[in-house]
Amino acid sequence: MLCKPNRFTWHLLGWALLSATLALVGALLKRWALAPGGLRSVVALLPVLPMVGYFLALTRWVRSLDEMQRLIQFEALLVQFAITALSVMGYGVLAETGAVPNPPVGDLWPGIWLLLFVSWSLGQAIVRRRYR
């Protein structure tokens, strides 16, 4: 079972949604309004800024946990790291051989974020079973 939502959950969700919204706006502006150049690069970078808030909220959340919950999160992050690293590396190698599409990195990051979230949730589910 995952953690119950608390104020940190809403902070994380808020920053992630802000980042996603800015990414969407940036993509629309890139497609319809902005010519290639400096401003387009600035708009493209906008979704990165809320991620700073996201990681700060994540840090505050981890610091609010007790010692066992921190251990669970640490082990869940190991699962997340293993799954994500192997998936991204595997996909990269296959893309180099032409076995799978090789899109620009910018098109891949929403999928990578999804993979990070899913693998973290999976890691928590696995690790929490041990302490239940």
């Binding site: 919950q69 251990l71 239940r132």
Partner: protein
């Protein structure tokens, strides 16, 4: 490591949630300690001993030791 946390808690008629609140940890952590699935750190073990007013060795013991 074995411990008498469940017995001591029952003597005071505290729920796991109440004990967790007094120790500033989650209820899951209290449950994991009681069931022996998690061994608390020394600071937490001392906090538990202080809360119950007993020496730490009266609450925690090595594996295979008597478990009340």
């Amino acid at each position: 490591m074995t411990n008498r946390l469940r017995v001591l808690r029952a003597e005071r008629a505290w729920s796991q949630a109440e004990l967790a609140s007094r120790l500033a940890v989650s209820r899951q952590t209290v449950n994991a300690i009681e069931t022996g699935k998690y061994d608390p750190s020394l600071p937490l073990a001392f906090a538990i001993a202080e809360l119950f007013g007993q020496p730490i060795e009266a609450i925690f013991g090595p594996n295979g030791g008597p478990r009340a």
